[in-house]
């Protein structure tokens, strides 16, 4: 087995035994071979990852010598962080995001920054200013988005693990499309300090890994209260690795019927239902339940999240950082800078968000959206009275072709229908590989849990992963 094929935990053990350099050269070689095809890592230059003394001798700690790639919307001090946007070209944050501090503190090495949809606006990584990312399982297909670079990099063995961010499915859907594990923690579980905001009341940072064990290992370090994020939860952080056990006996698993309706690819449905059968066989109780307001989730999301986004992206105005298009008047400077700096999808969402907040439309759109969001939350609260975990597909289809949905934004938005509700309700959700299509594309299932009950998700995912044993399959690169 080559070092680049190792999981995060194995990489750590390898680095401890053989030294970080051996691990790094294997990864660098892999990246140099494959990244030009995949475009998963941005601004990648070999010398950036070899010269620095920080990289040469990682500090001690539980993650000592573990290379982790970071999505391009998480601030790393001293490294350009651009959200895959022209408007942030050259922007070097003068501070580390809270999660970067934590990872560095545990000895991990920031190793590469991941391509993404511009400002995390997308489900395919086609809106990146750095060009599209390709799916390691089929280079003609998208890796999903917006954390598609993170998922593709992990799936292709460019890095053992990566951080993504998830506003409406941006960790889980690419994880499903690329055959890796992706966890969106409970809202408030992981500090957002240093995450360049998209939808502030939705955004969460989470791990994208080769298996459930690595997700648990990383969560141990990512989670926890941070005084710099007012929405950071004070709840104690459990040792998630203690949940890595095969045990679903008596676990009540709900299948929300709204997630199994029209538009669901038959192969996706089959693989999820088979997973439900495995759980049943292992002693879990499988129930069909209702989340009746699910059909409104996408509409709520594309009002509320874009409203927040339109405001969050106001600061990209060419005054203090990033790029500016010079002009004689202030207004012209703003308008040209933002015209040039933002891509088509960013403009679409900024305008939509501006509109739903504008005078005369606020009540009909934004306020109504926030009210229906309450109903969606209540659906979940009611569900937790009868089940412990919800099981569904992560996405209605496997990875689609590059270009297939780019010209039809609404169709693209609708592909997030199964992941958006967890963000609207703030509950934790995990995507786990659960099979392959006949043509060899990976499929993922989604487990959603009670707020702050990532442990049950990890236990249920670990049980299935061990039972069906599919993590060994590698993309044909």
């Amino acid at each position: 087995m080559k070092p680049y094929e190792l999981t995060l935990r194995e990489s750590r053990d390898f680095a401890a035994a053989e030294g970080f350099d051996a691990l790094r050269s294997s990864l660098l070689e892999r990246i140099e071979t494959l990244n030009p095809k995949l475009n998963a890592l941005v601004r990648f230059k070999r010398e950036d990852w070899t010269g620095s003394p920080r990289l040469a001798s990682p500090a001690g700690g539980e993650l000592a010598g573990v290379p982790i790639a970071i999505k391009d919307n998480i601030c790393v001090k001293g490294l350009e962080t651009a959200c895959a946007s022209k408007i942030l070209k050259g922007h070097v944050p003068p501070y580390d995001a809270a999660v970067i501090e934590k990872l560095k503190g545990a000895g991990a090495v920031v190793f590469g920054q991941c391509n993404m949809d511009e400002f995390a606006f997308g489900s395919s990584c086609e809106t990146s200013a750095f060009g599209p990312v390709r799916n390691p399982w089929d280079l003609e297909r998208v890796p999903g988005g917006s954390s598609g670079g993170s998922a593709a990099a992990v799936a292709a063995g460019l890095v053992p693990a990566a951080l993504g961010s998830d506003t409406g499915g941006s960790i889980r859907q690419p994880a499903a499309f690329c055959g890796v594990v992706g966890l969106k923690p409970t809202y408030g579980r992981v500090s957002r300090y240093g995450l360049i905001a998209f939808g502030s009341s939705f955004d969460q940072i989470g791990p994208i890994t080769k298996n459930v064990e690595d997700a648990a290992l990383l969560m141990k370090f990512l989670a926890g209260h941070d005084a710099r994020d007012s929405t950071s939860a004070p709840e104690e952080v459990p040792d998630y690795t203690k949940s890595l056990r095969r045990d679903v006996k008596g676990l009540r698993i709900g299948l929300p019927e709204e997630y199994f309706g029209a538009g669901l690819d038959p192969e996706v449905e089959k693989s999820v239902r088979e997973a439900a059968d495995v759980y049943r066989r292992l002693g879990a109780e499988i129930k069909t339940i209702k989340l009746p307001h699910t059909p409104y989730a996408v509409a709520v999301y594309y009002i509320v999240a874009v409203a927040e986004a339109s405001s969050n992206l106001g600061r990209f105005d060419g005054v203090r950082f990033g790029s500016r298009i010079a002009a004689d008047s202030l207004k012209e400077m703003y308008e040209k800078t933002r015209e040039e700096g933002f891509g088509a999808e960013a403009k679409r969402r900024i305008l939509l968000g501006t509109f739903v907040l504008s005078a005369g439309y606020y009540d009909a759109y934004y306020r109504q959206g926030q009210k229906v969001r309450t109903l969606i939350r209540q659906d979940f609260q009611k569900a937790w009275e009868s089940v412990d975990v919800l099981l569904s597909p992560t996405a209605p289809t496997p990875a689609f072709k590059i270009g297939e949905k780019l010209s039809d934004p609404l169709a693209m938005y609708l592909s997030d229908i199964m992941t958006i509700p967890a963000n609207l309700a703030g509950v934790p959700a995990l995507s786990l590989p659960c099979g392959f299509t006949r043509s060899g594309l990976p499929l993922g299932l989604q487990l959603m849990g009670r707020p702050f009950d990532e442990e049950t998700l990890i236990r249920a995912a670990y049980t299935l992963e061990q039972e069906i044993g599919i993590t060994g399959r590698k993309p044909p690169l």
Binding site: P94, A233, S323, L330, A344, T374
Partner: protein, 93 residues
């Protein structure tokens, strides 16, 4: 669906080419058409969700902690004049 694209674009400080205007007008029209479905939901008895968690009263102590970022930010700024950020002349307010 009335969508005054020019007014909205001006509020958002984004200049659009005529082509972009047309494309966005139709895209946003379709999206707004789709979200119309929310209007059928009876929310007369429902409160709004601005935060998904029930956290309240998060404060910091009134203590000064100096930051050292300003020099670096100024150095990298699109335009500056000494220790100031520089912008095209603003209208006197």
């Amino acid at each position: 669906m009335s969508f005054e694209i020019e007014k909205v674009a001006e509020l958002a400080r984004i200049r659009l080419t005529p082509d972009e205007k047309n494309k966005l007008q139709s895209d946003l029209g379709a999206i707004l058409g789709y979200v119309e479905k929310l209007k059928s939901v009876d929310t007369s008895q429902v409160s709004e969700t601005s935060h998904v968690m029930d956290l309240t009263n998060v404060f910091r102590e009134d203590k000064v902690l100096p930051s050292d970022v300003s020099a670096a930010v100024l150095r990298a700024a699109p335009d500056r004049d000494g220790k100031f950020f520089r912008v095209p002349k603003t209208v006197e307010r």
